[in-house]
């Protein structure tokens, strides 16, 4: 037997059960630690924060003291570290591997940006401090605005929307305000939304009080121009168009679409979710857009954080900039001032989106990202994002079925035709990717393609990474076609959990922990 210098064997001896069979006593499996709920391991009397003693005082709570037990569990600091580090290890993340979620732009998050967002002049200033004491923070907002305006060529930017959907709503409310001022709010009721749009688009238009009219796609995956021409009319308030669209395709007729809408007296709202494909290659202004939100958490790399926070500034054309919401930034001598009240404003702000000025923490990160890349780097970002997507499209097309012919922009869309008669669905295929160590692509979206698989690699993947990913997917596709269905229908088997029962979760909702009687 081979021994090392301390006399221990360097190779296993005898038979060991294989990983799937080994049942452990603790429930943990090696580095994969079992971790109960906070409320099962924490205790109300435990505390991980040292506070000074409460000084003598006469309470002025108006007789509203809280007497009942709250039941909040506590941890000492070491217990807290363990609980959350263990839980973190049950998450997939960009820093672990390729995260090809289409339309989500899961790119690398530079750590410089995290450091800068924590500088005290941004992180430790109050939104209602005297404006004379926050000129650095206001200056940063002004610089961010300049960059967004330069990249898009638009006339103004509203910074306060807190996420993409909030930005959509802001842009559509500007359009609504413009229509109202023209006295046409009662007659311009319809908003045209392609079937391929994100669900937020119709939900936003509905929240603004408009009626939604769906536009089908043509055979090439783009807006069907004949149907659009038929639907355009004096009752159209706006079109909401994602470009590149959710099929990863540039809407070739975009200028004609803009002209048609404008000639009919309507406005062109562009969903900017996919801006990562076109930065420095075209300006949104030159496409005829009136309003577009920009997801700082996609294109400009502010971390997704497990579902937020995001930020969704909106760029506006000249005919809409007057309606931008409060508060907004203006030049004030050598410095900057926030206009916070309608009474101070010489414009016609449609209202206020939230209590303060927007997602400052995201502004810092996004501006740091832009300055790091510069005009040359931003253009390279879009070129590499599109190159990476087309490379995957070319390689994966050997075994998988592209939804449309030709090249794509920053994301490649496949349908489930290659799985026909295999007994494997898009969902099964996605779950098998988990066993291969990958996060699945966006599934079953856009709705215009059967069993859609939308793959967006982003520019921060190396060629080697793309090749490894493509190799795995091609082998999986071959395996599905060869009839090895169990590998798919049983997947994932190597993740912390097997497939979860979502029907049960929805039918009998358990939305919180509750103490059970001992």
């Amino acid at each position: 037997m081979a021994m090392n210098s301390t006399g221990r064997p360097t190779a296993p001896t005898g038979d060991v059960p294989c990983a799937e069979d080994l049942k452990t006593f603790s429930g943990s499996r090696g580095l994969m630690q079992q971790e109960p709920l906070l409320h099962e391991v924490g205790a109300p009397e435990k505390c991980g924060v040292d506070l000074p003693d409460v000084p003598e005082h006469t309470a002025r709570l108006g007789g509203l003291e809280r007497d009942e037990t709250i039941g909040l569990p506590g941890f000492s600091e070491p217990e807290a570290m363990r609980h959350y580090v263990r839980l973190s290890q049950r998450n997939y993340a960009i820093d672990l591997g390729l995260y090809p979620l289409g339309s989500c732009t899961m790119k690398h998050n530079p750590r410089l940006n995290e450091k800068l967002a924590r500088l005290p002049g941004f992180a430790d200033v109050h939104p209602l401090q005297p404006q004379s004491t926050v000129q650095g923070a206001l200056g940063l907002m002004a610089e961010l605005s300049d960059w967004l305006v330069a990249i898009t060529g638009m006339d103004a930017v509203a910074l306060s929307p807190k996420a993409g959907a909030h930005g959509e709503w802001c842009g559509m409310m500007c359009i609504r305000a413009a229509i109202e001022e023209r006295g046409e709010l009662q007659t311009r009721r319809r908003v045209l939304v392609p079937q391929s749009a994100h669900g937020t688009n119709p939900a936003t238009a509905a929240a603004c009080g408009f009626e939604i009219d769906e536009l089908p796609a043509d055979d090439t995956g783009r807006v069907d121009m004949e149907i659009l021409r038929a639907k355009i009319g004096p009752d159209v308030a706006a079109i909401m168009l994602t470009n590149p669209n959710t099929g990863g395709l540039f809407e070739r007729d975009i200028r004609e679409i803009a002209d048609l809408v404008h000639e009919a007296g309507g406005y062109f709202y562009c969903d900017g979710a996919n801006l990562n494909a076109i930065m420095g290659k075209t300006r949104v202004r030159d496409l005829g857009v009136d309003a577009m939100h920009i997801n700082l958490h996609k294109t400009f790399s502010t971390p997704h954080g497990g579902g937020g926070p995001g930020a969704g500034p909106v760029v506006l054309s000249k005919r809409l900039s007057n309606y931008a919401p409060l508060p907004y930034l203006v030049r004030d001598g050598d410095g900057w001032a926030l206009i916070e009240e309608a009474a101070q404003s010489d414009a016609k702000p449609f209202g206020r989106l939230s209590v303060f000025h927007g997602q400052m923490g995201m502004f810092v990160r996004a501006l740091a990202y832009m300055m790091s890349h510069g005009a040359d780097g931003l253009r390279q970002v879009s070129e590499d994002a599109v190159l990476n997507a087309n490379y995957l499209l070319a390689r994966l097309s050997e075994e998988m079925s592209p939804a449309f012919d030709g090249v794509c922009m920053h994301e490649a869309l496949f349908d489930d035709a290659f799985l026909k008669d295999t007994g494997v669905t898009t969902l099964d295929f996605a779950k098998a990717m988990i066993d291969e160590g990958y996060h699945p692509m966006t599934m079953y979206f856009p709705l215009i393609v059967h069993g859609a698989m939308l793959i967006e690699p982003t520019e921060t993947e190396s060629k080697e990474s793309l090749d490894r990913f493509a190799d795995s997917l091609l082998l999986l596709a071959k395996m599905a076609k060869s009839g090895d269905t169990t590998r798919f229908t049983a997947a994932p088997t190597l993740a912390p959990l097997r497939r979860l029962d979502e029907t049960r979760a929805a039918r009998t909702p358990i939305l919180r922990w509750k103490a059970t009687d001992a």
Binding site: L37, L38, P44, V54, R60, L72, G74, F75, E77, A80, Q89, N91, A93, I94, D95, H108, E114, D124, V125, H126, P127, A137, E143, K162, M173, A203, A205, C208, G209, R252, I254, R255, K281, P303, H304, G305, G306, G307, P309, S354, H357, G358, A368, G374, G377, L378, D384, L387, N390, A394, V407, M409, A430, K431, R498, R499, L500, D501, L511, R512
Partner: protein, 449 residues
């Protein structure tokens, strides 16, 4: 470029594999007239990490940060001490760089922490259930109003005189797309019970803040009773959730929906965002089905092991599209995690002590200020923020104090607009204020008066 892994050899090989001769062939669908041939005008080229850091550090220094001054601002955002372990944990790659947990098998970290967060929020507010968070307190309030209108099928909404005016404006803006009948009561101290006078059987909801924007504590119980008697819902708003460690919860006082700003636990000031909106309600099918945003729910996997998923998504935009309960897609992911970790570090004992400390320190400062000539504390009750009347223009006094390096609070006119409460100052106190800060405020205020 340090963030871009491809080199020229890679690019050439990849273009060849795709079967095109140049990168611009991939952009051929952009109309010729709209193509940008050179670089974007007016922008610099790429910059090193060192250069970017230098620029931002310079910008940061142009602001007076709260940690560098005696600091007393509140008005919906509060400066509490956040333990270092919170920031460390939320920066773990697996939390920071994960997407929305759409693939639950490899997102249990996010999902379990959301489930724990929902439980903590429900306990803190005294409600049955809570969602996985909204953008902030003000947008949560607007969503709560929509929700109440859908539940009651009524259109009238009454905003109490103690509601933060920027919350009121957010709600008024949010309902522009529909036919709501908004009653916004004139801001006044000690007047929140007046909402009862505006109640009728057409009223969907009354929106009452506690502590209110003046810092006063409001007994919600009689308001809840009056509202329920005519089938109206009480929406309770809280902008300082640390108060819930000391003050009777909205749930205990009969609130139907709670909308709150969670910033003051786990999250810094950050000039107003990102923050974390809390939304909690009764465990009633009708309420939950009409609630906005995400919910994490418990279930089991195929092997019977407990796990968590996003659930009840048939309310949401990606399924329901134009018929969704809200257009919201994101939650405040990482801010909810910071909230949850900080609250877990505090636990019940720590939260109660923190709240008591805040209140005690505020009482001490209120007594000191009330003893000054030209200063009068207006509140009968408060938690950690109170209004004072000063002999002079409060906005000017705040500016003068800032010149002396003291961030002495918020002039009420900043919230209500010039012409209202011009001589009123809002002052907030937390555990971060030392005796030296109190001394500095007293000196600066005396000089500014």
């Amino acid at each position: 470029m340090r963030y871009l892994p491809l080199n020229e050899n890679d690019r050439a090989a990849m273009l060849a594999r795709i079967g095109v001769s140049s990168i611009d062939d991939l952009f051929a669908d952009i109309p010729a007239k709209a193509r940008l041939d050179g670089l974007i005008e007016g922008l610099p080229t790429h910059a090193s990490e060192m250069a970017v850091e230098r620029h931002f550090t310079d910008l940061s220094r142009q602001s007076l940060s709260a940690g560098d001054a005696p600091f007393f601002c509140g008005g919906g955002a509060y400066r509490h001490h956040v333990p270092a372990s919170v920031d460390h944990l939320i920066q773990r790659s697996e939390f920071l760089t994960a997407y929305t947990p759409y693939q639950p098998e490899i997102a249990q970290g996010t999902l379990q922490t959301l489930f724990e967060f929902q439980t903590q929020v429900a306990q803190l507010t005294g409600m049955d259930v809570a969602n996985a968070s909204l953008y902030d307190g003000s947008t949560a309030t607007a969503e709560a109003v929509h929700m109440a209108a859908r539940i009651t099928r009524r259109r009238k909404c009454v905003l109490a005189p103690g509601l933060h005016p920027h919350y009121a404006q957010t709600v008024q803006t949010a309902v522009q797309g529909e036919t709501m009948d908004m009653h916004v009561m004139t801001p006044a101290m000690g007047a929140d019970a007046d909402v009862m006078g505006a109640l009728d059987d057409q009223t969907a909801c009354i929106v009452v803040q506690n502590p209110n924007v003046f810092g006063e504590l409001v007994d919600l119980e009689p308001l809840a009773k009056a509202a329920h008697a005519v089938g109206t819902l009480l929406i309770a708003v809280t902008t300082e959730v640390v108060s819930l460690g000391l003050v009777k919860s909205p749930g205990e006082m009969g609130a139907d929906i709670v909308a709150a700003e969670g910033q003051s636990i786990g999250n810094g000031l950050s000039f107003g965002g990102p923050y974390v909106g809390l939304l909690a309600c009764r465990d009633d099918r009708k309420f939950i089905r009409q609630a906005p945003g995400r919910f994490a729910g418990e279930t089991v996997d195929e092997a019977g092991k407990r796990g968590y998923v996003l659930t009840l998504s048939t309310r949401e935009q990606h399924i329901r599209r134009e018929k969704a309960t809200s257009n919201i897609c994101t939650n405040s992911g990482l801010c909810t995690l910071a909230f949850s970790i900080h609250l877990a570090l505090l636990g019940e004992v720590g939260l109660r002590k923190l709240a008591a400390l805040n209140h005690a320190r505020a009482c001490q400062l209120a007594d000191r200020l009330d003893a000054l000539d030209g200063v009068e504390v207006l509140n009968q009750s408060f938690f950690n923020e109170f209004a004072v009347r000063v002999s002079g223009n409060a906005s000017q006094i705040i500016e003068d104090m800032a010149k002396a390096g003291v961030l002495g609070g918020i002039p009420a006119a900043r919230l209500f607009g010039a012409g209202y409460f011009d001589d009123v100052l809002m002052i907030a106190v937390t555990e971060t204020n030392r005796d030296e800060d109190f001394d500095a405020l007293v000196v600066a205020l005396r000089e500014a008066l």
